[in-house]
């Protein structure tokens, strides 16, 4: 779904200050950002439309980000939408779990504006946009 030629990013983050900060960064680069605070809000929005990318916090009020990944990967329509997990849980195990449930990349909090944009743009436009390599991102 493109609005005025802008690509849409669904942002799932329950903490308002962080949500606003990420939204501001993405909007400044001319993305159309839809923000929601939890799993159910995301499901409801995804039922109506398909984003170009989902930015997802793992720690959400009720169901976790892992569950949203599982839901999306089990849904025919949403299977190919890239997912960027943004979380402060960043042990190798957390990252492996995220990858196992279908996340395409993992951005550790705290992050810089440049890093967020690089992850987002790589996932959207990278040479392997459909299956972006986590490693290529983390190496830089």
């Amino acid at each position: 779904m493109e609005i005025d030629g802008k690509r849409t990013i669904l942002l799932v983050e329950d903490h308002p200050p962080e949500r606003d900060a990420i939204r501001r960064i993405l909007v400044s680069k001319d993305f159309n950002v839809e923000a929601t605070a939890d799993y159910h809000g995301a499901i409801a929005w995804l039922a109506k439309s398909i984003p170009h990318l989902v930015c997802l916090d793992l720690t959400l009020p009720r169901e976790s980000g892992f569950e949203l990944c599982e839901y999306m990967r089990g849904d025919q329509r949403l299977r190919v939408v890239p997912i960027l997990v943004i979380s402060d849980r960043s042990s190798p195990e957390d990252m492996a779990h995220a990858e196992n449930v279908g996340a395409n990349a993992f951005l550790k909090k705290p992050f810089t504006r440049e890093k967020l944009l690089k992850y987002v743009i790589t996932l959207l436009d990278g040479p392997h946009a459909s299956r972006p390599s986590v490693r290529r991102l983390r190496r830089t």
């Binding site: 793992l58 976790s64 190798p92 195990e93 492996a96 490693r135």
Partner: protein, 456 residues
């Protein structure tokens, strides 16, 4: 700054301090004239003694592995030896040099050099040697573990991966794939590995993980297991520092850092004292060895030290010069089981050699190895490289501690036990090591050595 640069700077600054202290000691007010003769003698003499002593003790060696406490204690020892030597030399040139010169020199040089060494030692130890890490598991967990270590840019370096049998191989790993989980033992025999991360799944890869743990415990190599295995959306450990990197780390040999530091200090004090009091005997023996048969006084043999680092072990020469070549001819008459060569009436031993071996006098130069930090008073005897290459997995654990002059085996009845029993005793020592036991072993060694019992 690399270790080498730090050590070179340390040497240069130490020399500068010695010259500076000499200059100030000779030119302070209260002196009638500037005694340039005294200054020259003092600075040249102290630098000469300092570099000689430093060389003997491997003071500026890059990888001395001594620890900060040991390093500083050794510096203090070196300083006092140099000062005592200078004090003795002063008696030969009494005309200009007054005792106050030397006292002032000591007052200036000692704290400066000690402080500098403390700083260098601290710098060098912060920059720990590279620790090679092996990762088992090439799934997402193994890959993220490797990338995480890579990102940290600390002293650890991932040298390779081993895959579990149910994992498809792929090319996105940050290090080389060295084989499968079954190859762990052969890889550990070939490569130096500091720690193994077992990045497996406790359900589907349980048996292989358990096998790996068994092998690692036998080798005595530290390993890490994933902290939980479960997926958490919210919960986190109450004490995060325990599993900071998502792993629980295990060691097979218990760490006793304080006792180890004390052990090192005892080693330095005891070996320095022993060298001082035994020096008349040692000089006499050295002369006898030199005069009684052709060849050098000291016999340097490459032995394998802690963490498999080779060093030159010192002995008074007790054999003829071409002993190693003769050994090949005598190997059929070996009387010790396993990879060690022992023989009761070894024809390669010289008459003087037979005497100094009987009372273990030939081992005395190893006190210098102890001072240098390559050996300890008590510890498993350092093996020769060919022995190590024949070790079985569990025997390699001997190399996890500093080798010593005496150990359980030496006081047990010495040569009359089999190689396997000997290894077993050494392993017992390593696993149940304590300062009290060390002291007991030293006390038990004295009568065994004095009686010449069991030595050959």
């Amino acid at each position: 700054m690399t270790r080498q640069t730090a050590q070179n700077l340390n040497l240069l600054s130490d020399c500068a301090i010695l010259v500076g202290a000499s200059a100030i000691a000779c030119s302070l007010p209260g002196q009638p004239h500037w005694h340039w003769m005294v200054f020259l003698g003092m600075s040249a003499g102290s630098m000469l003694l300092w570099t000689l002593g430093g060389r003997l003790l491997r003071h500026y060696d890059v990888w001395n592995g001594r620890g900060i406490a040991g390093d500083v204690a050794l510096t203090a020892l070196l300083l006092s030896s140099v000062l005592i030597a200078m004090g003795v030399l002063r008696w030969f040139v009494p005309a200009y040099a007054a005792g106050s010169h030397l006292a002032r020199f000591a007052l200036l040089a000692v704290p400066a050099i000690l402080w500098l060494r403390l700083m260098t030692s601290w710098l060098v130890h912060r920059e720990q040697p590279v620790q090679p890490v092996l990762i088992m598991g090439i799934g997402p967990l193994g890959r993220h573990t490797g990338l995480g270590i890579h990102e940290q840019q600390d002293h650890r370096r991932v040298i390779g991966y081993l895959g579990f049998s149910d994992e498809p191989s792929h090319d996105r790993l940050p290090a080389e794939l060295m084989g499968s989980a079954n190859d762990l033992e052969s890889v550990l025999k070939k490569e130096v590995v500091g720690e193994v991360f077992i990045a497996g799944n406790g359900d589907s890869q349980r048996a292989e993980m358990q096998d790996a743990i068994r092998v690692l415990e036998r080798f005595g190599i530290p390993f890490a297991l994933p902290a939980c295995g479960f997926r958490f959306g919210r919960a986190r450990p109450e004490h995060e520092s325990v599993i900071a990197d998502g792993y629980i780390h295990y060691v097979s040999v218990r760490h006793k850092p304080v006792q180890l530091a004390i052990k090192r200090l005892i080693d330095i004090a005891a070996s320095a004292t022993a060298l001082f009091f035994l020096s008349p005997i040692m000089i006499a023996v050295a002369l006898t060895v030199k005069l009684s048969s052709r060849g050098p006084t000291l016999f340097k043999q490459v032995r394998v030290g802690r963490h498999a680092r080779p060093f030159n072990m010192l002995k008074f020469r007790s054999m003829v010069v071409n002993a190693e070549e003769l050994k090949a001819k005598l190997i059929a008459r070996n009387e010790q089981s396993g990879p060690v060569f022992k023989m009761t009436r070894d024809p390669r031993i010289t008459p003087v050699g037979r005497f100094i071996r009987k009372y273990s006098i030939d081992e005395l130069p190893q006190l210098i190895n102890v001072l240098r930090g390559e050996m300890s008073l008590v510890g498993p005897r350092p093996p020769v490289p060919s022995e190590v290459s024949k070790y079985e997995a569990w025997q390699r654990r001997r190399l996890s501690v500093r080798p010593g002059l005496t150990c359980v085996w030496q006081v047990s009845g010495r040569n009359e036990i089999s190689f396997d029993e000997w290894m077993y005793l050494d392993m017992q020592y390593i696993d149940h090591w304590s300062l009290a036991q060390d002291l007991q072993l030293i006390l038990k060694t004295v009568p065994v050595v004095l009686s010449g019992r069991g030595a050959s």
